[in-house]
Symmetry: C2
Amino acid sequence: MISVVLLGTGNVATHLYNAFLNVDAIVVTQISSRALDEVPDADITIIAVADDAIAEVSSKIKNGFVVHTSGSVDLNNLQNATRKGVFYMLQTFSKDKKVDFHEIPFCLEAEHTNDYKLLEILANSIGKKIYSISSEQRKTLHVAAVFVNNFSNHMYKIGSDICIKNKVPFDILKPLILETALKIKELSPEKAQTGPAVREDKKTIKNHIKLLDTSQQQIYKILTKSIQNGN
Amino acid sequence: MISVVLLGTGNVATHLYNAFLNVDAIVVTQISSRALDEVPDADITIIAVADDAIAEVSSKIKNGFVVHTSGSVDLNNLQNATRKGVFYMLQTFSKDKKVDFHEIPFCLEAEHTNDYKLLEILANSIGKKIYSISSEQRKTLHVAAVFVNNFSNHMYKIGSDICIKNKVPFDILKPLILETALKIKELSPEKAQTGPAVREDKKTIKNHIKLLDTSQQQIYKILTKSIQNGN
């Protein structure tokens, strides 16, 4: 039996809490980070709060093994006097959308081998894609994730803005969005690339730019250049 | 029975040819655009060649009804003396990847109602998502498609470059890529957005920028600003 305390009430904490509730071998308690004087003892204390609050919250925890769930915060940012680790799930969590933990990569780190093994058991109880990732590697993954998630999503947002402005249903683009993501399973992004930039189709590029507003034009030009330069 | 001539030997022409071959009510012939003096008569002649070649190829076709398959070329760019139309499939086609035509939006246009109905029958024989889209609307869709497809894919490319440079498996990011695309089925891109830009998390943004090369930094900054400005 593993006892887990989850600190935080955001998306990550809540999805994790619900997942652990379904595992017989885990006893889980969820606590608001504002109730730090009421934290019960546990084998693993998971701090799932905003990045900026991790240092302060961890400094008040007396439990033996404390981990955070952040992609961009170093293990040593934890300020508990006891053992430290990281339990980072590389996925986007929305409040209203169900999470399939079997599809989520767990990026684990701990100072001690036994603690790492404990995190591995915990991750395996709800998921199956487990990776040992150092703080340095995690930082890298986190910035790469901003590109493939936040910035891709922003490309969808601009596509949607263009459709709304020109009274075309955005739904027409949804199969393309999905296909673009699915392609990456089989082809490298470099090989998967199509379109006017990689074709160096100057006429189409010129016509496209005319249809955009100033901010969209700037993004179109920079990304076209970046595709053509291969960087 | 509908007779179709397909001009061109690229991805679009070949995928369409294979799809039509499976339909009993369609007789299809595929011809290289370099063999224009051998084009047989047909109910619908589909020009699936590079955008820049559409005007010249169409000028040499004597058949009664000629359409092109381009997202960015106006119907009136066709130079045949007979009836004109557009048979545009808004999807990304790769040589080696099977296409599910049931998932592909067909954007149809014709000068005459009867021709439009014929294109509709043709599209319905292999697909089911049919839209009547004018040349103006199609231009809009095409530039929106560059954002959601080419530019999203370029975000994957940059994510992959970052992983390769820092010796982290890009595979860890693939579930996130797929989830980002799937989210759009249920949430608007605006509501789906997460990450340091929309959170105005200046510290993380600063740390991320340090990890990137010059070209990546420029893209990171511009897209972060665009997300924060809501444009």
